[in-house]
């Protein structure tokens, strides 16, 4: 369910339950039809995997501290596509992620890694690897 979206606009707030229910069913059916890379499914099954949620045009958490060797998975919960791109444009760069699509990257070396959405560059995030 995409509860945070209800806050998105005043208009959305006054939508009837029936309409929101229909919207939720649509978003679920879209999610089930989404193709996911195999590596992402593996990450889901691995205990302790770290997830960054993309919602309302922001990365949450925006800053993250992890141990070296940890795999981070980003999932897009917005209705518009986003990307996850390291500031150097080289270390990691996802394709455009549609709603509910994911991207994973394993941080092998300690350091501070800043990244952004190349479609909406105001969206930035940071990962500190210890």
């Amino acid at each position: 369910m995409r509860r945070t979206k209800i806050r998105q606009s005043r208009t959305a707030r006054i939508l009837g339950t029936a309409i929101f229910g229909a919207a939720a069913v649509l978003s679920l059916s879209l999610a089930s039809g989404t193709l996911r890379p195999l590596s992402v499914i593996a990450a889901q099954e691995k205990p302790g995997a770290i997830t960054v949620t993309i919602d309302n045009f922001s990365f949450a958490p925006m800053q993250l501290e992890i141990k070296a060797g940890t795999e981070v998975t980003w999932i897009n919960k917005d209705d518009v596509p986003h990307t996850v791109v390291s500031d150097d444009h080289k270390l990691f760069k996802s394709r455009a992620l549609d709603t509910d699509e994911k991207f994973s990257f394993t941080f092998k070396d300690p350091g501070t890694y800043e990244y952004f959405c190349s479609v909406h560059p105001k969206m930035t995030g940071k990962i500190v690897v210890k």
């Binding site: 945070t4 606009s9 005043r10 208009t11 209705d79 518009v80 596509p81 560059p121």
Partner: protein, 317 residues
Amino acid sequence: MSDYIEKNQDNDGVDRRGFLKCMAWAGTGTLCLVQGGVLKSFALTDVLQKNVGNLKGDLSFVQISDSHIGFSKPANPDVTGTLREAIAKVNALPTPPSFVLHTGDLTHLSKPEEFDTLAESLKSLKTERIFYVPGEHDVLNDNGAMFHERFGQGTQGDGWYSFDQKGAHFIGLVNVLNLKAGGLGNLGHEQLEWLEKDVAKLKGSTPIVVFAHIPLWSVYPQWGWGTDDSEQALSYLKRFGSVTVLNGHIHQTMQKIEGNITFHTACSTAFPQPHPGEADSPGPMKVPAEKLRGLLGITDVNFVRGKHTLAIVDSTL
């Protein structure tokens, strides 16, 4: 409240009361007349009731924007349908437009089949030619290669170009490529150099129309609604008597005048976005089905030679 932007005490070209009234009409239809750098705004209902003078000119063209073919979520599961409605609206105009400008976000996900649907749909437009500039949704995974191949033939650099029509000079700019972390829309050094040279040969009396996807004025930088290096681009246009800047991206109509430059953004043909700051994010606005078409639309522009007049009319679907 006046229907005109008639006071300009700050010398910035904007009368706040008139501007707010203009804003209030967003989505319900607005007509804007530009005469010598002064903007006059009318409700579209007045235009339809012929309460205003003759707006026919030497050149008329239509701007459509943000078709987002491939988007299928609330509030619009049928963006191809609403694009067709927009096309029907254009085809119903009393004078067929000389050409149509599409100011980007043709597609939602830059997929080949989305570009196919867009191109196929626009074939039914009754006009001589369609000019395009890309939106950020058209250049998602290939830095715009597919868009360029299909819609940017014969353009310069990453897809910018200019052309002349009935004495007016039109400039299509690309501000959705090579975006920098934390930044806004971006024109880039190479394009700015080209622009400076492109307008250098023109007389100051030449009416200029610039079109690009992301607004070339600072609408709401917090949501990325602006272009980092637009000031430099606009500095090359300051010597011209009449400059009109047409953008998309924000899925709602807005107007602003700064000196001789009139800025105007168009509605989307796909889905509305919230007014600046009135939601948690600029994501698609979910509205009841019966309200959707009142928030989508097209923009019709008339140019009267000799009077330096551009009449801009927004119509909802």
